[in-house]
């Protein structure tokens, strides 16, 4: 039954998820016991909200809005997740995604907010495209820094990433606090930028806003899924992807095989930077999202760091990241619904962190599954080998049967 390694991987992930939910529900039971205002009916409501997430509202319009927002929030998470995943495949730990995300935001908003295309949406889309490209260039350049430090000076990428994160955060606040024309004074807000919605340079929605009205949803999710699939193909089917993975698996062997491992390290970080930057660009180019630049220098964006669990949960598989990011955001959406039952939203984060914790030794689950199988196979084989002459075809059959039984 469990011959397929992908199937086994999925089974291990499901086990992690079940463990996470068990812990989350235990915490909810604990809170119900401690807090006198909560009763058993609250607990059942809470569990319902936890599993149904954005679908748990009886009102169809609310469901659509919640669902649309959830999908919109998945978009940047997939990108930062991809960023971490691609770097990880090359053996680099990209903890610098927050900085790259911010540099992408900076580059894109500097273009999209400075050019007013409110009257001409066609031109607006061109400006939007330019904004994305500039954002990607900024992020890629930012990602190149740890790559160059690693490749040419042999300096650990983690320390460079942490430093560049904070440099980027300060640059963003610094630059925008001097761009007085971009600050949203008309709406009486300080330290907020204007939105792209009024300028016509927002992300095209491809009609998705008609399907899920009232939410932030835009075409970003489609773009992001296409990018993820492209990187899946690049990493698994092309020579370039193979070289990156070879560098990650064994740097010295890759060098010995004639690959330019320095070039690959820099390229991998450039790509990672560009991917994280797309996340920042798409997030803030949405028609309804405004950037609060005033506090960025003190707080790195959570999307950057959350890319790490999204990538790790997906075992750094680009297509897997789509699912892991969606799942993590689904849990968060459930968390905000939990408040309706009297619980705090952080229970959702408890669940996702426990899931990641178990994901750390999902390989152990896999190993246990395989070991058990090997032992059984060994038994079957010795049992079959007792009669001396057995044709190969018949040998396969009982083995299969036996596996079915044990499964």
């Amino acid at each position: 039954m469990m011959k397929n390694p992908i199937l086994k991987q999925i089974l291990a992930s499901v086990l992690c998820i079940i463990c996470g939910f068990i812990v989350g529900i235990l915490v909810m039971i604990l809170i119900t016991v401690v807090n006198k205002d909560l009763s058993v009916s609250n607990l059942f409501d809470g569990i319902k909200y936890l599993f149904l997430g954005p679908f748990s509202s009886p009102n169809a319009a609310t469901v659509k809005r919640n669902l649309g927002n959830m999908i919109f929030y998945i978009t940047p998470l997939i990108m930062t997740g991809l960023s971490v995943a691609i770097a990880f495949k090359t053996g680099l730990f990209n903890i610098g995604a927050p900085g790259q995300f911010l540099m992408g935001t900076l580059g894109s908003l500097m273009i999209a907010l400075h050019i007013n295309c409110a009257d001409n949406r066609g031109l607006g889309i061109l400006v939007w495209l330019l904004a994305i490209v500039v954002g990607v260039i900024c992020g890629a350049a930012w990602g190149a820094i740890p790559g160059i430090f690693k490749a040419f000076f042999d300096i650990n990428e983690v320390v460079v990433c942490i430093m560049t994160n904070w440099i980027a955060a300060n640059i963003v606040t610094w630059v925008f606090s001097n761009q007085t024309s971009l600050i949203n004074i008309p709406e009486g807000k300080s330290a907020y930028l204007i939105k792209t919605g009024g300028l016509g340079t927002y992300t095209p929605t491809f009609g998705l806003d008609k399907i899920l009205p009232g939410s932030y949803i835009d075409g970003g999710i489609i773009i992001v899924i296409i990018i993820a699939i492209i990187f899946f193909i690049v990493m698994s089917k092309t020579k370039f992807g193979f070289e990156l993975k070879a560098c990650g698996a064994n740097k010295h062997a890759a060098k010995y095989a004639g690959m330019n491992e320095k070039k690959n390290i820099v390229l991998s970080m450039v790509i990672a930077g560009g991917l994280a930057a797309v996340g920042g660009s798409l997030y803030y180019l949405n028609a309804g999202i405004e950037l609060q630049y005033g506090s960025i220098y003190a707080n790195l964006p959570e999307y950057g760091f959350n890319g790490i669990p999204a990538a790790l949960l997906a075992n750094c598989d680009p297509v897997g990241v789509i699912f892991s990011a969606s799942f993590l955001r689904y849990i968060s959406a459930s968390g905000s619904r939990l408040q309706l039952a009297g619980y705090n939203a952080y229970i959702a984060s408890v669940i996702s962190s426990v899931i990641i914790y178990f994901a750390g030794f999902s390989r152990l689950f896999l190993m246990l599954l395989s070991k058990k199988r090997k032992k059984e196979e060994a038994k079957v084989v010795t049992a079959i080998e007792v009669p001396p002459v057995v044709e190969e075809k018949t040998e396969e059959a009982p083995e299969e049967e036996n596996k079915e039984e044990t499964a």
Binding site: V27, I31, V34, N35, F93, I95, F149, F153, D154, I155, N156, V158, V159, V160, I162, M163, T164, W166, I167, N170, I171, T173, W174, S177, Y297, A298, N299, L300, I308, P309, L312, N344, Y346, I347, S349, V350, S352, S353, V354, I356, Y357, A359, G360, F361, R363, L364
Partner: protein
């Protein structure tokens, strides 16, 4: 002169948590476990220390002895950091997990614990400790010159950390157990072959690491963060990790790194009040960036052979070569 002493006093206060948490990182990584969870351990230790202070205050115990409370809260922070790190060592040593993933999970878990329990028991996501518990231990404004850097407007945590740092650093390099611990990070197979229990050493290293991170976490919130324990610690754990790498996994390097970083950071903090710097008219963001840029430049200029423990992050399998 007065300004310089002020900056140096602040430098010490800022560098102290960084110093001890980075040493915590060294203990884990020298034993062969990547401790990415320093940030989480700091948050958890700080929160537990703050709860301890809150409970003492509520029970009316030691109200007139804030410094005794401070020392005990540091110990509570260290103890809870050590307990929390067992989650990491258990998965890393016993279950042979991917240590990056486990560390990330613990970094995610600590803030949610603070938020959840803060909301359930204190109805807010943070604990504010009263000022009396976070005040200076020693004020000696009459001391001559540079003695004031350490002994005027000083916190007890400064002396505790300096003492612990020195003792543990010597122990790591000069004692038998310390040498065994380092061997497990370099070549666990060789260590095992001469009868060292690799798993035990890795548990020890990670637990000390967690204790130091918890201690540093409480020292940070009680001094730099003015007594507020919340779900974030301003990236100090990751910064300590960076300082550890900057210091080449070596206590002396860490001292240099933490002091240098703290000094540059504090120049930024006082830039608006020092006339000489205020006249240049650069925004605070410039001074914020300086320490990070300097770290990068120093890394390039003084790069040497990496002191990174060779077996870090690799689960030890008996019989594997």
């Amino acid at each position: 002169m007065e300004n310089l002493i002020l900056i140096l006093q602040k430098t010490i206060i800022y560098a102290i948590p960084l110093l001890i948490v980075a040493l915590g990182g060294v203990f884990a990584e020298r034993s062969g476990v990547i401790n990415l969870a320093l940030e989480g351990e700091m948050i958890f230790g700080a929160f537990m220390g703050a709860i301890f202070v809150y409970l003492l205050q509520k029970g009316g115990v030691w109200l007139d002895k804030p410094q005794l409370t401070f020392i005990c809260a540091l110990a509570v922070g260290a103890g809870s950091g050590a307990l929390y790190s067992l989650l990491l060592s258990f998965s890393a040593v016993k279950l042979k997990s991917d240590q990056t993933i486990s560390g990330t999970a613990l970094n995610m878990l600590a803030p949610t614990i603070v938020n959840t329990f803060g909301l359930v028991f204190f109805l807010q996501e943070k604990i504010n400790m009263p000022y009396t518990f976070t005040g200076y231990a020693i004020i000696n404004s009459n001391l001559p010159g540079f003695l004031r850097i350490l002994f005027d407007k000083a916190y007890l945590s400064t002396f505790v950390v300096i003492l612990v740092f020195a003792l543990l650093s010597i122990w790591l390099y000069k004692s038998k157990v310390g040498t065994h611990l380092r061997a497990c990070g370099e070549h666990p197979q060789a260590a095992d072959s001469v009868g060292i229990n690799v798993a035990k050493m890795r548990y020890l290293g990670t637990t000390i690491s967690g204790a130091l991170a918890g201690l540093g976490g409480y020292a940070y919130i009680a001094t730099v963060a003015n007594g507020t324990a919340e779900a974030t610690i301003g990236g100090m754990g990751f910064l300590a990790l960076a300082i550890m790498i900057f210091g080449n996994w070596n206590p002396i390097g860490i001292v240099i790194g933490a002091l240098m970083f703290g000094f540059l950071k504090c120049i930024g903090a006082v830039s608006s009040s020092v006339p000489f710097l205020a006249n240049i008219g650069l925004p605070p963001y410039f001074y914020n960036i300086v320490p990070y840029v300097v770290v990068l430049v120093v890394l390039v200029l003084f790069r040497k052979k990496s002191g990174c423990p060779k077996a870090e992050g690799i689960p030890y399998e008996k019989g594997q070569r």
